[in-house]
């Protein structure tokens, strides 16, 4: 029997089994925290930083990603303060500037309040969220792809550059990638600094998700959350 802890998220007393993350606990309660690199039941690495929350410890607020923060008894979490919204908007802006043609990232940015991107676009088509790397290692135990290099040089690739035999070409990495949706044909063109948010992105992995689920919780699914309603 798992131990249950009680914590407060945005003022609501919530209960969650010990060992779950704050993000999972919040989603379970219908409290939506935007996230991108998180995939349910897989190791979280805190790469995209979108799911940042304020963790109030001894009256001092510490900002950390909720996907890597385990629930603890008596924890006080704030997911939607002015400061968090501001930081989240800036982070989403950084991400969308890196991959402006991904509908998933674009929509996410608009949801987080990005109206204008203040940086020149770079069409890198990868934001290094690591969803592909983790689905390969965690779900299929294959480890056929991984991160290579560090800093600005970091990229996803095969070991030593060649596709190894233990890659079963299962396509999970492609399915889970937020970039694999057809590029936006509309107002979002390289060099254009305005996001319309009009696209309805569809991820093949998320297409089986339940109707009522919030988009932040199921990347790409319909945008029905009232809190982050149309801007």
């Amino acid at each position: 029997m798992k131990k249950i802890v009680t914590l407060t998220i945005d003022g609501a007393a919530t209960r969650a089994p010990k060992g779950t993350t704050v993000l999972d606990a919040a989603i379970e309660y219908g409290i939506c925290i935007p996230h991108l690199c998180h995939i349910p039941n897989m190791t979280d690495i805190g790469a995209c930083r979108l799911c940042i929350v304020e963790n109030i410890v001894d009256g001092r607020s510490r900002i950390t990603t909720s996907c890597t923060l385990d629930v603890q008894e008596g924890m006080v979490i704030r997911t939607n303060t002015e400061r968090i919204r501001h930081l989240r908007r800036n982070i989403a802006e950084l991400l969308v500037a890196q991959a402006p043609n991904s509908r998933a990232v674009q929509d996410m940015a608009v949801r987080c309040g990005v109206k204008e991107v203040r940086y020149p676009f770079r069409n890198d088509d990868c934001i290094l969220c690591g969803r592909c790397v983790r689905i390969c290692s965690d779900m299929w135990q294959a480890r056929a792809i991984g991160f290579i290099g560090r800093g600005a040089e970091r990229r996803v690739g095969f070991p030593f550059g060649d596709r190894p035999a233990y890659c079963k070409e299962c396509n999970s990495c492609v399915d889970t990638c937020p970039m694999t949706i057809a590029p936006c044909e509309g107002s979002m063109k390289p060099g254009e600094a305005h996001l319309c948010g009009g696209c309805e992105s569809q991820l093949s992995m998320a297409s089986g998700a339940q109707e009522a689920m919030c988009v932040m919780c199921r990347l790409g699914e319909g945008f029905k959350c009232s809190r982050y309603g149309w801007q």
């Binding site: 805190g46 930083r49 950390t64 950084l94 800093g151 970091r154």
Partner: protein
């Protein structure tokens, strides 16, 4: 030859009493040595050909048949790297500097054999012009309080006997004969020692949390993955006095209840790796590491692990991942390493300098240590003084010493009559402080309040020829290359900040970019995963805070006030000052300068690459930068 025996021949010490007996024996033997020549064999002096001087000296000693009277001791860094290679001759404590191999014959025949002091080799005070005979007469040393560094010149890092002779392992013996782990912890708590690696976290608090953490198996780690540009105090300590670090780690392990320790040292410090390995081996052979140390119940052993050259592995969680054989990337620190560290076991990780401070705290008591320094920061701190200052080197001063004392009294001010404008403290994650703040006491809290940090203790001095926007650009470039890239804010945020700063230095800056820069800096600082990202915007924030006028000059007037940013400067020749000597024309690799003999020369701006070679070649100051 009355010098020390080979360390491996040392008998295993079985009790604190046998250690004391050995110490007396070593001291008695060293008193029989007539002359001791101490030569700095640190990296700085070795770079100035200290090895050649040593070889020449040894040959000369042999030639003069003095090998039975003279002991040559090669030690770690003495700190005054600017003047290297350095030598101290005892008796008399005669201090020679800037030695060359050809001086060896004179030193042996006149000083060692004749007892004469060679005036030419003494240090000359650039202000008074007076010669200084001993270290204590040199202003650089006089203004310091060298608690840790002064041991370096007494100890050959490869000889455990030297260290024991200098009072080494007395603290461990004291702790093992009657002090409980709690009593050791209590002394450290009383001392008020704070982590020297950068964060300034109270050491005793860290140890107490680790001691209280559940689990039988615990670890201590010494972080010697020093990577800040310009900082080398950890290198100097580990190279020069590795046993001091080992003793500190053993004391920490005793207080915490750890059985095993690691020294994580970067592979780019080959001498530190070699000396640390030799120290561990000789300490094991002497029974000062391993099972039942000095006949007690306490067992502790240390291994050396080499880092793979990643700056981020100086961060505790990344270091631990690297030690475990994983990719050196940080993890979130919501559960601290004192509870779940190496192999998920409670782990105490401290910096080299922190460990090195522990033995003297146990020997002299915590109150002695706490008597130095300021209210919040106790003891002494080693700073690496580099940049545009006369006396570069390692400086150890009590916490709370003003920047003015460090830069002007010890450092001797700027060379060539330039004007000092700012200092950059704390490495790439630190900040820049202007001259107007030089009276501020240097301690953890004051620097943090001013927007900088003590960090590992690097102090880079900047004069009026340094462009602060360029400084921000330099550190951002460093951090972009050294960020692990795991989290988006650090990877993309630093890259974007660099993009903006580059725009500004190349004349494409817009005024609204200053606000964007501040906004972005705040985001990176707040939302990044590890300490590297959280402190990465400091160079930008502090230069913007204190030198916004320079940013504005770049953007609004397309002008670099210091004449550094190449896109914004033009070279020209002052026709009145130019004598037509032709030196610059010959020196210019791009053929941009021309002119007749004894006629003022002309610089073709379309060919000029702004490399600055002409400036350094001109004796008349005729090359203008605007």
């Amino acid at each position: 030859m009355p010098t020390v025996k080979n360390a491996t021949a040392l008998e295993k010490l079985s009790s604190p009493e046998s250690l004391e007996a050995l110490r007396k024996d070593i001291q008695a033997r060293s008193r029989q040595t007539k002359i001791t020549v101490t030569m700095c064999g640190g990296t700085g002096c070795c770079a100035s050909r200290a090895q050649d001087v040593m070889d020449a000296l040894r040959t000369e000693i042999k030639k003069n048949r003095l090998e039975y009277d003279v002991r040559v001791r090669i030690t770690g860094c003495h700190g005054f790297c600017e003047q290297g290679p350095l030598m101290i001759i005892d008796p008399g404590n005669v201090f020679y500097c800037r030695l060359k191999p050809e001086h060896a014959a004179d030193i042996v025949s006149r000083t060692l054999a004749g007892g004469e002091v060679i005036e030419d080799l003494l240090y000359t005070d650039p202000v008074t012009g007076r010669k200084a005979r001993t270290e204590s007469a040199i202003p650089f040393y006089r203004a310091q309080d060298r608690q840790l560094l002064s041991l370096n010149k007494l100890v050959d890092p490869l000889s455990i006997e030297d260290y024991i002779g200098a009072g080494g392992y007395a603290a461990l013996a004291k702790a093992l004969s009657g002090m409980s782990p709690a009593a050791v912890l209590e002394q450290v708590k009383k001392s008020g020692l704070r982590g020297r690696g950068g964060g300034g976290y109270p050491t005793a608090k860290k140890w107490a949390e680790c001691a209280a953490a559940p689990g039988e198996e615990k670890f201590v780690i010494c972080n010697a993955d020093e990577g800040d540009p310009g900082a080398y105090m950890d290198r100097c300590l580990l190279e020069g006095n590795p046993h001091l670090v080992l003793e500190g780690m053993a004391l920490g392990a005793l207080a915490i209840g750890a059985q095993h320790g690691y020294i994580y040292v970067r592979n780019e410090y080959p001498l530190a790796v070699r000396h640390a390995r030799a120290a561990v081996e000789s300490a094991r052979a002497a029974g000062l590491l391993g099972g039942n140390i000095l006949g007690s119940e306490f067992s502790f052993d240390v291994d050396i692990a080499r880092g793979g050259g990643a700056f981020v592995c100086g961060e505790s969680t990344a270091l631990i991942a690297s030690l475990e054989g994983k990719v050196g990337e940080p993890r979130p620190k919501d559960v601290h390493t004192v509870v779940q560290g190496l192999w998920d076991k409670p782990t105490t990780l401290n910096n080299v300098e922190t460990w090195a401070n522990v033995p003297s705290i146990i020997t002299n008591g915590g109150a002695w240590f706490a008597s130095k320094g300021t209210k919040g920061s106790k003891g002494t701190k080693i700073f690496a003084l580099t940049g545009r200052v006369k006396n570069t080197g390692l400086v150890e001063v009590p916490m709370g010493t003003s920047l003015r004392t460090i830069v002007f009294d010890i450092g001797g001010g700027a060379p060539e009559g330039r004007e000092i404008k700012a200092v950059q403290t704390g490495g790439p994650s630190g900040g820049c402080l202007p001259l107007s703040m030089f009276d501020m006491p240097v301690d953890f809290d004051a620097l943090r309040e001013a927007g900088s940090m003590v960090g590992s203790g690097g102090i880079v001095v900047m004069d009026d020829k340094t462009c602060m926007v360029d400084v921000a650009k330099y550190f951002l470039t460093f951090l972009r290359d050294e960020s692990c890239g795991k989290c988006s804010t650090c990877r993309l945020g630093i890259d974007r900040m660099l993009e903006i700063v580059t725009d500004i230095t190349e004349g494409r800056g817009r005024l609204e970019q200053i606000d964007l820069l501040m906004d972005l800096a705040g985001t990176v600082a707040a939302a990044s995963l590890c300490g590297l990202g959280k402190t990465a915007p400091n160079p930008v924030i502090s230069t913007l805070k204190y030198f916004e006028d320079e940013y504005r000059a770049h953007i609004l007037e397309q002008r670099c006030p210091a004449g550094v940013c190449r896109s914004l400067i033009e070279y020209s020749i002052d026709a009145h000052a130019c004598t037509g000597c032709g030196t610059c024309a010959r020196a210019c690799p791009h053929g941009a300068i021309s002119g007749g003999k004894k006629q003022p020369h002309v610089l073709d701006a379309s060919l000029c690459q702004k490399c600055g070679i002409c400036i350094s070649s001109c004796k008349f100051g005729a090359i203008l930068v605007a």
